[in-house]
C-alpha cells in the first residue's frame, strides 16, 4: 500500500466503479492487508473532493456511498451526444413512486385509495425493474398485500443521502387546505 497513497487508491477505485462505493467496500480494497480506518478514509475523501473542486467531475456522497459525477453544468453538452432522449415517466408512474417514497411502507391498495384510481401492474413492475422500489414485507390483513418501499438505488439515482432529504410536499399544500376548510366552516354556520 505504501507505494501508492491512499488518496490515489480511492480516486482510482471510485472512477472504476459504476455504483457508489461504501466505506465498507473501500476497506475491502485492501484485502488481507491492514485496511485504513473509517476516519482515515473520510479524511482522504475530503482531501480528494478538494482536489476536484474546479474540475468537470465532483465527488459526492449519496445513500450508497461515494461516487464521482459529472457536474450538472455539462448536461446540455452531453445531451448533444445521444439521439435517445432520457426516459420520461408518466404522471401515474411518478405519483405512484411519490406515494411509495413519502408514505413507505405502503400497499398498492393504499396508493389506490389516495389516488382514486387503480394502480397498473406495469407501473409497479417498471419501478421494480428500475431498481427504485422493492417489496419489504406483507401487511397482515386479508390477502396479505405486499408492502412497497424505496431502495438505496432510488436514493442514489436521485442524488440523496437519505429519505429525509426528500423535499417536503406537505408544506406546499398546507395553505390552500386551511382556506378550504375555513370556507366550509363559514358555509355551514
Amino acid at each position: 500500500m505504501s507505494d501508492i497513497d491512499l488518496k490515489r487508491i480511492l480516486e482510482g477505485a471510485l472512477f472504476a466503479s459504476r455504483e457508489p462505493m461504501s466505506i465498507y467496500q473501500m476497506k475491502k480494497l485492501f484485502g488481507d492487508q491492514k485496511a485504513p480506518t473509517e476516519g482515515m478514509l473520510r479524511e482522504a475523501l475530503m482531501s480528494l473532493a478538494e482536489e476536484y473542486q474546479d474540475r468537470a467531475v465532483t465527488l459526492v456522497e449519496v445513500a450508497g456511498g461515494f461516487r464521482f459525477q459529472v457536474i450538472d453544468a455539462l448536461a446540455p453538452y452531453l445531451l448533444n451526444l445521444t439521439d435517445e432522449k432520457p426516459g420520461k415517466y408518466s404522471r401515474a408512474t411518478l405519483e405512484t413512486l411519490a406515494m411509495i417514497a413519502y408514505r413507505q411502507p405502503v400497499t398498492r391498495g393504499e396508493i389506490e385509495a389516495v389516488r382514486g384510481v387503480a394502480v397498473n401492474t406495469q407501473i409497479i413492475r417498471t419501478l421494480e425493474e428500475r431498481g427504485w422500489i422493492t417489496v419489504v414485507g406483507h401487511k397482515e390483513v386479508p390477502g396479505r398485500p405486499a408492502l412497497l418501499a424505496t431502495t438505496t438505488q432510488f436514493l442514489n439515482d436521485f442524488g440523496l443521502k437519505s429519505l429525509e432529504e426528500l423535499p417536503n410536499a406537505e408544506d406546499l399544500v398546507a395553505a390552500p387546505a386551511d382556506d378550504l376548510l375555513d370556507q366550509l366552516d363559514n358555509q355551514s354556520e
Binding site: F15, D72, A75, A98, M99, G159
Partner: protein
Amino acid sequence: MITHVQGELPLAVVEGSPLTQLPEDLYIPPDALEVILDAFEGPLDLLLYLIRRQNLDIVQINVAEITRQYMGYISLLEAMRFELAAEYLVMAAMLAEIKSRALLPRPVGADEDEEEDPRAELIRRLLEYEKVKMSAEILDELPRIDRDFRVAEAQKPEIDERTAPPVVDLSELVLAFGELLARARLSSAHQIEWEPLSTRQRMSEVLMKLRDRAELTLSDLFSADEGKAGVVVSFLAILELVREGLCALIQAAPGSQIYIRRASQDV
C-alpha cells in the same frame, strides 16, 4: 345551512361574481373523452383541476350539472375503458350524495359531531391527493441520474475477473419468452404475425454485412451451397428489410445489377 339551494345555482363564484355557465374552455365534449382520460389521472385529479385552475369553489359546486355531465359519458365509456369509468362514477355518486344532503333539512337536535359532513371527507381526499400530485412533481424535478447528471467513470485496468458471469440455461430463455408471449397475447388487442426465425436471423446477418460495407450486390447475399431453401430465406429477409424501411434496393437500369444498401448511410 346552505340557503341558496333552489333555482339558478351559481356554478362558481369568480372574484365575488357568480358564474352560471361553464367557461367554454372548461366544457368537455363527449368525443373528447379519451383526451380527459389521458389528461387526468382520475376523478380526483379532474375535480382538483376544476377547483384550482378555474377557481371553482368546492363548497358551491353545481353537483347536479357535474353529475349530468358524468352520466353523459357512461355510454361512451362502456365501449372503451370501463374500469376508469367506474372510478369516475363513484365520484359522481359521491357528489350527488353531497348535493342531496345539502337539500335535506337536518333533523332538529341531531348531534352535529355524530355525522360527518361528506364534503369534509371529499375535501380531505382532494387535499391528500393534491399532496401526492405535488410530491410527484417535486420528485420529477429532482436531479436524476442519466437525465440531469452522469456518473463519472474510467476504464478499469485488465483484471482477471474472479467472478464468472451468470450462467443462463437455454430452457430459462425459452421459458422467459413463453411467458412474455402469453402475457403480451392477453394484454394486447391486436396480434402481430412474425416472420419465421430463419428469416429474422437472415435479416440480422444482412444488416451486419451492411455495417461494414455501405453497399452490397444482391448476389453477395445468395450462396449456392445453401440450396434453394437458403435462397428463399435470403430473399424473404431482403423483402422484409425493405418493407420495414431498414434497407433500400437500387437498380440503375432494367436488367442491371441490383444493389442493396442501408436506408441511411451515416451510421
